[in-house]
Amino acid sequence: MSEDDETRGITRRSFLTGTGITVAAAGILKTTEALAESVKGGAAVGPGAVPVSLKVNGSVHQLSLEPSTTLADALRFSIGLTGTKVVCDRGSCSACTVHLDGTPVCSCMTLAVDVGARAVTTIEGLARGDKLTPIQEQFIANDAMQCGFCTPGMVMSCAALLARNNKPSLDEVKTAVSGNLCRCGTYPKVFAAAMAASGQKLPRGSDVVTHAAELHFESKAERPADEPPPWPVNSKLKIVGKSHPRLDGRLKVTGKARYTADVRLPGMLFARRVVSPHPHARVKSIDLSAAERLPGVKAVMIVGRGEGAKLRNPPKVADKFPLVLYAGQAVAAVAATSQSIADEAARLVKVEYERLPFVVELDDARRDGAPLVYPGAVDMGGSAGGGGAQKGLAQKGNVRGPSKRDKGDVDAGLKAAELSVDGEFKTQVQTHSALETHGVVADWREDGLTVYASSQGTTSVRDEFATVFDLPKSKVRIITEFMGGGFGAKFGAGSFGILAAQLSKKAGAPVRLMLDRKEEHLCVGNRPSTVQTVKIGAKKDGSLTGIVVTSWGNSGIATGGGVGWMGTSLYACDNTRSEQYDVFTHTGAAAAFRAPGQPQGAFALEQLMDELAEKIGMDPLALRDKLDAGPGVPGPGGNDEATRAARKAERQIGAERFGWSKRRPAGADGGPKKRGIGMAQSMWGRFVDLDASCEVRLHRDGSIEIMSSVQDIGTGTRTALAMVVAEELGVRVEDVAVKIGDTQYPAGPSSGGSKTLLGITAPARVAAWRIKEQLYKAVGEQARSMPLKKAAAKMTTEHLSAQASRSPDYGGDPHGGYGGVQFAEVVVDVETGVVKVERMVAVHDCGRVLNPLAVQSQINGGILHGISYALYEERHMDRATGRMVNANLDQYKIAGAKETPEIEVVLIDQYIGRNATDIHGIGEPANIPTAAAIANAVYNAIGVRVRELPMNPPALLAALGKVNRVKEAKR
């Protein structure tokens, strides 16, 4: 949109709020003919807005658009059909799929002016009124969605397939969605949905959930008097423990679920940041004048806050502008009446940089004399988790630490060993790559700040805004209705969020600032790359005498590049030492990422445990059985009695289902394609978030609502809360209205550390129980035998309200761990170096299983993340310029439909009786062992250990000795 728009009679406001003049169906035919004419020949039009007619979902819209407007943007911003999502904006992910005359295309790579007479069908146009199409119904029934951001594109791809092929094979389904990326790992359920919609079932595996065992460790500790007694086992409950489709599934498969990227407020401006192309630079000057002069620009500002850790001894005189510490750091920002004006204005900002020496790879940064990220010692709260973030640690050059964890006498332990195994392991940087980029719509007003945020912690985001702007929490409201994936990187306000609020304040209008895909890779976190050495000493009978873990993690400009606590806690050993160092580089801050540190730690530890088993001559499962028979590891995330019992059951069940007994010696296959199997274990801590509150209301008409600020990161939080409340109150799940994702409700937990359900389901049940008690008190004890609705009708007030907060686990600390065992079958092509995962069996415990369907989705997701991490994903940094070269979604490679193995999920119910529900999260434990299990399977296939990730052709062919890789300092 250019400055000409006003003169052409189209106000910017009308552009923003949708200029579409919808023509009634009767007029369609004639208009369509006119459209067909308009495609042919004719004079040049534009630049500047030109009339464009689009026939969308049966209605014709007369729009006024720049010729450069994509169909996706026209649909989303001019017509207001925001079900079509833009993710990569380059045709690599198919999230923006629409049908043109029935053919699926990428609307982000189609110009609106080029659509002509072709009929556009969007996700909103599939259903006939309230009647969903079979594929939409099956997406809901099979839970083929988590965060839901890829769902419209997935549905559109499947719908197009089914329209031309009413009995597709599984392979045809996979091909049809082979261009659709999902970051939550819903592929297996998309397959199931597409097959079911055509009256077929998956061959086997993927749609099975089994409760194989029930383990009871009921706590003898007393519970508070104002909490109900523990529920009985699931088989005695009506709702909990039985699969239930998502309550918001319908919104997700119709494109009506509203994400931050879809929010449009009256007068809303669009923002863009000006980012440094240099990884380390001093800003000499910034000239905003050209940007300010551009018509449509409403606010321009210079970034005043630096990023990264805090120097313990900051310089007395600060630079005029914050120092640039990585390529992609923002130095200025603009807000304008359209995104294209904002983009243009950002290009017009002139910044003069003094370039400084930099270092972007882990090994380079560790060297003496490497360019320094920080001139002195720094501190910072760990942004990446996984250790290494304590205050006051030593710092030499770019290396900070170690963060230590010591037990017993490791040197004596190793000396006492009869044999030992050791190795150096390397893992790569993985970017979160949530499909919805980080972003906010910030609305600064006299009476307070409202921020729509793509966030996994509404409360933590609110707290940061309140702190930064010195506002009382009561004047900051965060709304996260739906969010398109976070995986650990969306807890904070973000420097971009702060900028949006500042721009909003300056412009006096709401400001939308969504990062683009490139910024998403650079600026908002990643899983740090690591180098770790691990040594394990043991006796010939397999008992462990000592474990030493030393690691270095590329934490960018932040801290927390550790490798977790797998090495010191998964197996009992009296003598352990863990020393973990952060290494600073001129790259974006590392951040928590789905079980921070643990997949890295498991990759090393579980490979070495297999090596140890082989050296001793034991089966890998037998060695683990032996180790778990001994005393456990106490403490948070430790290997307590309940955990070890669960793990043992999981190994047995998994081995049986997987066919472990058929395991052959390493490298047994002849020919170029070699098959192998392997396993690895997972452990995660039972992290209880006591800051987890909710309110349940019972109205006189018997209707029920539950409210909490807790958000849904893809877990299915709405459904989970409704199930718990419905169970307690004896009503249907659909009868419970769930209101979440808004800080005006009681503070819920952040969705990190797999704490969401472990935090919020217990108070949800307690609040529901309290409502009942209040009701009986209010209307009389005889009401206990009445249906709830009948009793409620006797209430003298309009509603009753009960709040509850998470109480500490009965019996208090220590909280143990929980986890699972995963088995992988791979085929390795030793001539091309390509590894393919064909089958996974995942046996997990997560306390009391609430909704098997949803748990299965989470475990599929953890496995898909793990496969993607193990084999494909890698950030490539150009060492000469310090820039990431694959900040996109085609060369940054994420596992797709055809990388999805057959996954069998087996769940174990574990009742530990330490809170009102016993329900745990599963997001993280499901991701921890996958890469390690694949690595062990690769070894079993080829007889060679691959000690680096990703295990891609360059790594495999090097490990096989088929290519001499030039010695290079990677990562």
Partner: protein, 328 residues
């Protein structure tokens, strides 16, 4: 994306007449939009070819067994799905079926596919002023070159982005070009040019020319062909290496071999030594292996892409055997 003028050309001549500085044509628009969004180019005018009728035909020049003639706006999806193409030009159908994503194959045209710009990540980023954009440096030579060329890579190390052209060149395809001065027919193999001549271009299409036809000669009797694209992922991915093999066979004996490597060089690369080894020989494991080994002899891999050599050897051997096995 900067704004531009838009015209719908009514005919090829009308489109050609408009070509000039600051004017770009749009067919499927996939690669073009990618570059415009990145800001690599900002044309004054786009000339839309999609409104011109009759440019998306697939036909045989005579009867059912003539040359295969593809209109320049034929989509990759249409080629992939065409029964005649699948039967007689299986390697081409395979190459189309493995290009990009299903959505992109529905949009991308064969003409656009041949003139798309390289996927080199340095070229694709506005942050790098590389040789291809008139700069002085090929950043890939000393930088991140995992996916770059292993031969003819001294000046600019791109690999040609069209995996479809790997198959087309193997079949001996020609392209018809039309410009203000008239028409000419060029073998596709000569259409592409190496960076030594001019690093700023990948082909010899004139500034006022358009591709108006792609033609594949009818295969000789006894022709066997196969195509393989080796990727890391089977879902949408760029090739680490791809190869098309077209063999003219007399029983098991190879009369003539055409072996083209993709993702190996800045142009589709003819493995001449491999072809020579197969010529006149019975195609068996040994011959295939000898030909495969010859395919990468003399290669000059960069610091991070030597791993491509064993991959090329493996897929050339396998694809030769597949072509021989599938001979009609």
């Amino acid at each position: 994306m900067k704004s531009f003028e838009w015209t719908n050309a009514a005919s090829l001549d009308e489109a050609i007449a408009q070509l000039g500085t600051g004017v770009m044509v749009k067919a499927g628009g996939v690669d073009l939009l990618d570059r415009l969004k990145e800001g690599l180019e900002s044309p004054r005018r786009l000339v839309n070819l999609r409104g011109i009728g009759g440019l998306d035909n697939i036909r045989s020049s005579t009867g059912d067994d003539g040359d295969l003639v593809l209109g320049p706006l034929t989509t990759l999806a249409a080629i992939e799905a065409h029964a005649g193409v699948r039967k007689r030009f299986g390697a081409l159908a395979e190459a189309c079926a493995h290009a990009a994503t299903p959505q992109i194959r529905n949009m991308a045209t064969i003409g656009g596919n041949l003139v798309q710009r390289p996927r080199c990540w340095y070229f694709r980023s506005a942050d790098f002023n590389c040789r291809k954009k008139g700069g002085e440096v090929c950043f890939a030579l000393e930088g991140e070159n995992q996916y770059h060329a292993i031969v003819a890579n001294k000046v600019c190390a791109i690999v040609h982005p069209s995996s479809v052209s790997t198959a087309l060149v193997a079949y001996g395809a020609t392209v018809k070009l039309k410009g203000k001065a008239g028409e000419r027919v060029v073998p596709l193999e000569q259409f592409f040019v190496l960076p030594d001549k001019d690093p700023r271009r990948e082909n010899q299409l004139g500034a006022d020319e358009l591709i108006t036809e792609v033609r594949l000669p009818a295969p000789a009797k006894g022709t066997g062909a196969a195509y393989h694209k080796q990727t890391e992922k089977e879902s949408f991915d760029w090739p680490l290496a791809d190869v098309a093999v077209v063999l003219e066979l007399d029983g098991r004996t190879c009369k003539r071999a055409s072996i083209i490597l993709g993702a190996a060089a800045p142009v589709p690369w003819r493995a001449k030594s491999s072809e020579a080894i197969l010529g006149g020989r019975a195609v068996d494991e040994h011959a295939a292996e000898a030909a495969a080994n010859a395919a990468v002899q003399g290669a000059t891999p960069l610091a991070k892409n030597a791993y491509k050599l064993p991959i090329v050897r493996a897929i050339v051997r396998r694809t030769i055997l597949a072509a021989a096995g599938g001979a009609a």
